[in-house]
C-alpha cells in the first residue's frame, strides 16, 4: 500500500541466519498506526451499512405497503433496541462518508505522507463522533425520538 514500508517496525524481516530470506511484513510485526484503525473502521462501517441500506429500503417498502406496515416498522425502529441500531448505523454512515472522502483525496495524490494521512484519518474519526453526537442530540432535543 501507499506508505506501508515506512511503518514496518524496526528489526522486522531479520531471519536467524543470513542465508534466510527476509519475511514479508505481517500483522504481528506492524507497529500500530491510526490509518490502520481507519482502514478497519472503513471496512466494518461498510459492512454495517450493507445491513443499513437493507433497513432503509425496508422503510420505503413499509411506507408503500401502507399505514399498518409503517406502524410495525416504526415500532421496531423506535424501540430501544432499534434506536441503538440506528445510532450505530448513523455513526457508520458518518464515518464511511468521511473516510470515503479521505480516500478520494488520497486518489488525487494529496495528503499521502504518513503524518498528513494520520491527520486526515483522525479528522474523519472526530467528524463521525461529532456528527453522530450532534444528530442524536438534535433528535432527542426536538423530541423526534424519545426513550
Amino acid at each position: 500500500m501507499s506508505h506501508g514500508n515506512a511503518r514496518v517496525a524496526a528489526g522486522s524481516g531479520k531471519g536467524r541466519g543470513s542465508a534466510e530470506k527476509p519475511l514479508s511484513p505481517h500483522l504481528q510485526i506492524w507497529r500500530w498506526h491510526v490509518t490502520m484503525l481507519g482502514s478497519i473502521l472503513h471496512r466494518v462501517s461498510g459492512i454495517a451499512l450493507y445491513v443499513g441500506t437493507a433497513l432503509v429500503v425496508g422503510w420505503a417498502v413499509a411506507t408503500a405497503l401502507g399505514p399498518d406496515a409503517y406502524a410495525a416498522f416504526a415500532a421496531a425502529a423506535g424501540s430501544p433496541f432499534g434506536l441503538v441500531i440506528w445510532l450505530g448505523l448513523s455513526a457508520a454512515a458518518f464515518y464511511h462518508l468521511a473516510a470515503g472522502i479521505r480516500h478520494l483525496v488520497w486518489d488525487l495524490g494529496l495528503f499521502m505522507r504518513p503524518a498528513s494521512a494520520d491527520v486526515l484519518t483522525v479528522l474523519s474519526i472526530l467528524f463521525a463522533a461529532a456528527a453522530t453526537a450532534g444528530l442524536w442530540g438534535w433528535l432527542f432535543w426536538t423530541g423526534a425520538v424519545s426513550l
Binding site: 471496512r43 461498510g46 459492512i47 451499512l49 450493507y50 441500506t53 437493507a54 432503509v56 429500503v57 422503510w59 420505503a60 417498502v61 411506507t63 408503500a64 405497503l65 401502507g66 399505514p67 409503517y70 406502524a71 416504526a74 423506535g78 448513523s90 454512515a93 458518518f94 462518508l97 470515503g100 472522502i101 480516500h103 478520494l104 486518489d107 444528530l135 438534535w138 433528535l139 423530541g143 423526534a144 425520538v145 424519545s146
Partner: protein, 123 residues
C-alpha cells in the same frame, strides 16, 4: 494468485473507476439522505408517504438506493475476495451478494412506483 484466478487483470481498472464514481455520487446523496432522515424521524406514516411521493425526493431516494446498492455490491465483493478463499463458498457468497442487491433494487423500484407514480400492485 487470487487476482489472476478472478481475472482482475481483465476488469480491475473498470472496477477502480466504478468504485470512485459511485463514491463521488454518494457523497452529496448520503448527506442529503442523513439530513432528510433527521427531518423525517418520528414524523409518522403521513409525513413519510408524502415525502416519498414528491418527485424530487422519489428521484433522489431512487438514486441513493440504486447507487448505494451498486457501491455496496462492489464493496462486499472485495471483502469476499479478501477473506473467502474456498472456491465453492466464494462463488456461493458472490451470487448471494448480487442476489441480495438485485432484490433490494427491485423492492426500491416497486415501492417508489407505488408511492410516487401511483401504480397499484394490489398490496
Amino acid at each position: 494468485m487470487t487476482g489472476r484466478r478472478y481475472k482482475a487483470g481483465a476488469h480491475g481498472a473498470g472496477t477502480w473507476v466504478r468504485e470512485r464514481l459511485s463514491s463521488l455520487l454518494l457523497v452529496p446523496l448520503s448527506i442529503w439522505a442523513l439530513a432528510s432522515a433527521a427531518c423525517l424521524a418520528g414524523g409518522g406514516y403521513e409525513a413519510a408517504a408524502a415525502w416519498l411521493a414528491r418527485p424530487a425526493n422519489a428521484a433522489g431516494f431512487g438514486a441513493l438506493a440504486l447507487i448505494s446498492l451498486w457501491h455496496m455490491r462492489m464493496g462486499a465483493q472485495v471483502v469476499i475476495e479478501d477473506y473467502i478463499h474456498r472456491k465453492g463458498t466464494h462463488d456461493m457468497l458472490s451470487v448471494l451478494n448480487s442476489l441480495i442487491c438485485l432484490v433490494l433494487a427491485a423492492a426500491t423500484a416497486l415501492a417508489l412506483a407505488k408511492l410516487a407514480l401511483g401504480l397499484d400492485f394490489g398490496v
